[in-house]
């Protein structure tokens, strides 16, 4: 078991405190003792001198007494020299002891600090790696017990994160697998339903009007199911990061024409007028033609379904900075602000009351958003209740050859 920082600090402090206290006590005691001895000696010396001087004044052995007085005066000088030497020695001794004890303490603490530093630095680096997504990162457990338990706790946390990420990945894979399998299993019976309904409707002349209507309901609903399946597949792929696009430099005019062609029948069916306004001199955009058509068809299908018969719908393409914005505007009922905020989320529809009569899947805008973002673009929606709606998306301009400096811009937009 490694020693803890707290234990080492306690022991270090205790030793330093004891040494310092002992030095102080010894120093002071020695000083007092020396001083005492000195004063006693001085007192005795004076006493002898006074006795000698008394003898001189009384005339007894004056010569010897004078010699004694002189001797005592010399001895006191010697004693004073001694005591100042001794005091200096004691001070030096105590000073040296203090310095030694403090140096020892400083060495102990710097040792402790440096033994903390490496493991802590390792922890900091490992935390940064973990935060950056390296879930396999671990630290070496060792050193003081505090850093060792920090290290162990870190490793446990990283292990737990890794385990959960693994479980989540597995769940995601299972979900993707499930959607794919479900789609596959649903498609075959759906093929039969739609195929045989088509066979029936080919015999239209031999069916009663009610039967024709019934078969058309079957066909409408099977087509709706197919759209729903396709949309679910696209979203599952998008979630799994497997929705792929193949962008090519494409004329905006072509994209608008594609969408117009795909939607003409549907719009005419409700007497809705589609006008287009593509700015001249637009740069080519980086776009997967089929996928952009899907985006525009989704936007136009919404306009078609949510607007009344005879509504006016406009597709407008303009340049905005390095992007091209394509906007679909209608003069339909509009969308309240609180619903507009969630309009690009899946299974969200503007008006629950309309849900019954419109045929959408509730996934069209979510897919449009995914597809546009895959192109490095953005989507937006504006609406005034009663004043129509505008759904728009931006696509980055395709980098023209020799236009290399703009390429990083396009990458940034992603």
């Amino acid at each position: 078991m490694s020693q803890s920082l707290a234990n080492r600090l306690t022991i270090g402090f205790t030793i330093a405190f004891a040494v310092l206290t002992a030095l102080a006590v010894i120093g002071v005691a020695r000083f007092i003792q020396q001083r005492q001895d000195f004063e006693d000696a001085i007192a005795r010396s004076y006493q002898r001198e006074i006795q000698a001087r008394t003898r001189i004044s009384q005339g007894r052995h004056p010569a010897a007494a004078r010699a004694t007085v002189l001797a005592q005066q010399r001895q006191r000088r010697a004693l004073r020299d001694d005591i100042s030497n001794q005091t200096r020695d004691t001070a030096l001794l105590v000073g040296a002891g203090l310095i030694a004890a403090l140096t020892g303490a400083a060495l102990l603490f710097s040792g402790l600090i440096s033994s903390m530093r490496r493991p802590l630095e390792n922890l900091v680096e490992a935390s940064e790696r973990l935060a950056a997504g390296d879930l396999e990162t671990r630290v070496e457990v060792g050193g003081l017990s505090e850093t060792a338990s920090l290290g162990r706790a870190f490793n446990e946390m990283a292990g737990e994160l890794q385990r959960r990420a693994g479980e989540r990945d597995q769940l995601d894979r299972m979900k993707d697998e499930f959607v794919l399998t479900a789609s596959h299993e649903l498609r075959s019976p759906l093929t039969s339903v739609q195929g045989f309904a088509e066979l029936l409707i080919m015999e239209r002349d031999r069916l009663s009007p009610e039967q024709v209507e019934t078969v058309e309901v079957i066909l409408d609903n099977s087509r709706h199911l197919v759209r729903l399946l396709n949309d679910l597949l696209d979203l599952a792929r998008s979630d799994a990061g497997r929705l792929e696009i193949a962008p090519q430099p494409t004329e905006v005019e072509t994209l608008v024409e594609d969408a117009e062609r795909a939607m003409r029948g549907q719009l005419e069916g409700r007497g809705q007028a589609l006008s287009t306004a593509v700015d001249p001199d637009l740069p080519r955009v980086s776009a997967d033609r089929d996928r952009v058509r899907q985006v525009m068809v989704n936007l136009l299908t919404n306009a078609n379904e949510y607007c009344p018969d005879g509504a006016a719908i406009e597709v407008k393409a303009t340049r905005i900075d390095a992007d091209v914005e394509i906007a679909v505007t209608d003069n339909g009922p509009g969308i309240p602000q609180d619903q507009l905020e969630h309009i690009f989320e899946r299974f969200t529809r503007g008006d629950a009351g309309l849900t019954q009569r419109v045929g959408g899947t509730g996934l069209g805008l979510a897919i449009a958003k995914s597809l546009v973002e895959l192109h490095g673009g953005t989507v937006a929606a504006e609406s005034t209740p009663g004043g129509g709606s505008t759904f728009s998306f931006r696509l980055p301009a395709a980098a023209a050859p020799g236009d290399a400096p703009h390429a990083p811009l396009e990458a940034e937009a992603r």
Partner: protein, 125 residues
């Protein structure tokens, strides 16, 4: 214009649908319910089909496996692969000379156009 088409699918319902629509369009239809049936039909003594319409996923020998074996044996009949999985479309051709993919549900008008292209006399696809 009329072509002899060998259709393989493990679902009897789909087979019935394909047979009905193809016959209505004037084609002659042979059927198989798995890859082995396809191999038997081409190895047998009967008339050879002008086109294969194979389901990608069938039990035992899949459409893709059957086609691989046929190509290895030097059979060069054009083949269309029917698949519920869009994922499978555009999967590596592996030199199987696949002439196209047909998604479920089947767009029959597009399928008939493709069959006409592939079986037209003259420049083979």
């Amino acid at each position: 214009m009329m072509a002899r088409v060998l259709v393989a699918d493990d679902s009897e319902t789909i087979l019935l649908l394909l047979r009905t629509r193809l016959e209505m369009a004037g084609h002659e239809v042979q059927t198989a319910t798995d890859g082995q049936g396809v191999l038997d039909a081409l190895k047998g003594a009967g008339p050879k089909p002008d086109l294969l319409l194979l389901d990608a996923m069938m039990p035992r020998i899949s459409g893709i496996d059957a086609l691989r074996e046929l190509r290895a044996a030097g059979v060069d009949v054009p083949a269309l692969i029917v698949s519920a999985h869009e994922e499978a479309n555009g999967a590596s051709d592996e030199g199987l000379a696949i002439s196209g993919y047909v998604s479920k549900p089947i767009d029959f008008e597009a399928l008939f156009d493709r069959i006409a292209e592939l079986t037209a006399p003259g420049p083979a696809a």
